[in-house]
Symmetry: C2
Subunit: 310 residues, 2 copies
């Protein structure tokens, strides 16, 4: 079983408008509402592709009830801890035919307490021993310690994958997380290094065992204590890239038994397969197979010695 952790669960509301114009009133032409937050989307992709998964995190209030109802309707197993009296957040994505990317409005999560954290840890300690891998994704809600992911990594018998940024990602590296998943901007923000290989090596120095960097159209980079690999993006895909990072995290979580070149190929294929699908948390299986077949993984021999010395 792969356990996903979404401490900042959201109800994802997606609006389509012909064109988003600031300071104007818009008639929304299509509305989709579903349970979201990065780890929820990771669990959805795993579930779609037949991997056993459980989604953990927090929910509360009327928004939380809608999140739970949606997860039940999707048949996605979950163990979400309640924060009574405070409602889960909503995230609004405005899809505008005029811009390739979407306009996103992320509400802050509800303020959590020490008691909320203690209750989550109790649930986590029940779930984690049964997980081959735990995928920890997204921002931390207000009130949780910066090293929340780091602490969870130290309580995890199986593998850990952390998709976050900044102090939370750095703390997870220091706690010895197995795989860290920043994109290029997050890696720079976290390490201060402009070069992605240098940035990834800095996270290995901190204590992380492997770093997979998503570089958009430049493809993916894996800098690990077992060696370094790169896979270029196969072709430009049009669609909604919002869920690509979560599909990538799902691929890394589902391939802990495979060698790195195969994991990197899967990561590229799953993330590319999320783009043609309108909502985050789903992949197009035909695209997945096409990209996996075409992907060419190169070993970065110059980097190998530097990384395996860490």
């Amino acid at each position: 079983m792969i356990l996903t952790v979404t401490l900042n669960v959201a109800l994802d509301v997606t609006y389509e408008v012909p064109e988003l114009t600031p300071c104007a009133t818009h008639r929304v032409t299509s509305v989709a509402r579903r349970a979201g937050g990065k780890g929820i989307n990771v669990a959805r992709v795993l579930h779609q592709l037949g991997h056993e998964t459980v989604a953990s995190g927090y929910v509360g209030g009327v928004v939380g009830e809608e999140v739970l109802a949606d997860l039940d309707a999707a048949g996605l197993p979950h163990r979400l801890v309640g924060h009574p009296g405070r409602s889960s957040r909503q995230s609004v994505t405005v899809v505008d035919r005029g811009c390739g990317d979407a306009t996103v409005l992320n509400e802050p999560g509800p303020e959590l307490t020490d008691d909320d954290w203690t209750r989550f840890l109790a649930t986590y300690d029940e779930l984690a021993p049964a997980a081959s891998c735990v995928v920890l994704s997204g921002s931390l809600p207000p009130g949780l310690p910066t090293d929340a992911y780091a602490l969870l990594c130290t309580r995890t018998p199986g593998a850990t994958v952390v998709d976050s940024a900044g102090p939370a990602l750095l703390a997870a590296a220091r706690a010895g997380a197995d795989v860290l998943l920043p994109n290029l901007a997050e890696l720079r923000e976290t390490t201060g290094r402009l070069d992605p290989i240098e940035g990834a090596l800095a996270l290995l120095d901190a204590g992380g065992k492997a770093v997979v960097v998503s570089m958009g159209a430049e493809g993916l980079l894996a800098i690990t204590r077992d060696g370094c690999w790169r896979v270029p993006a196969v072709s430009r895909l049009s669609g909604n890239p919002t869920g690509a990072g979560d599909a990538l995290a799902a691929a890394i979580g589902a391939t802990t038994e495979l060698p790195w070149p195969d994991r990197l190929r899967a990561a590229l294929a799953w993330s590319a397969a999320a783009v043609p699908v309108p909502l985050a948390g789903e992949v197009d299986v035909a695209t997945l197979h096409r990209v996996a077949d075409a992907a060419l993984v190169d070993e970065l021999e110059d980097c190998d010695a530097a990384a395996t010395d860490r």
Copy 2:
């Protein structure tokens, strides 16, 4: 009692962001969620100013439950009819310090059925006989007849005030509504006349008894079968103008016993008093009194003969 009708009830979600940039991701700095839709805001203003009121309309689903809970928390009397299986809509307003007006995303309402309409009419027929005035506000949800407001006007023993636009407003005029409340753009859209006096006279010709036109910074115009009056805006106010039209409708609904110059003065004062308040459905009482004291209503003698002849 003043009855308000909101056929397209919404949960109004208001976000503050430092600056709204299309195609970018935003951290929302403040979130407010409350029951909305134009007639709900009319009822809120009436309730705040001590007038007995009941809010009628439709609600459904989890969003409808949040609407009901919010109305209960506000102590606002309501008789909302359920549409089981379909959720009420949400409306998102993004307040951006960079633009005086707000960016609004209005979801379409749920599709209503003939059965929903029959159930609403039964509730309406219980409520309307006890109302000194009924205020009908906003767009019609999909599935209701274009002449829904017109039909409600013909079933109303007391006064009727209709704040809408296009075919729904024209049908209400034809049904003999007592007061029609278009703004300048809505009046042009409804009648095809560029001149506001000519547009208002066209609505009297159709069958309406009075038309109050809001002309923004130009103030208000009342074209009625008892004569014509104009009141210029008192001063430019800064704030959120979203609820000003609903406060105006509340003033017209609350002053059925007064002569037109007094109604027009109240309409100007209540609508101006909505601007300094951040959320729709509330007025600033000090501003209300200040504007009412300063407002100067002029009779438009050239127009009187034309209007009273209708």
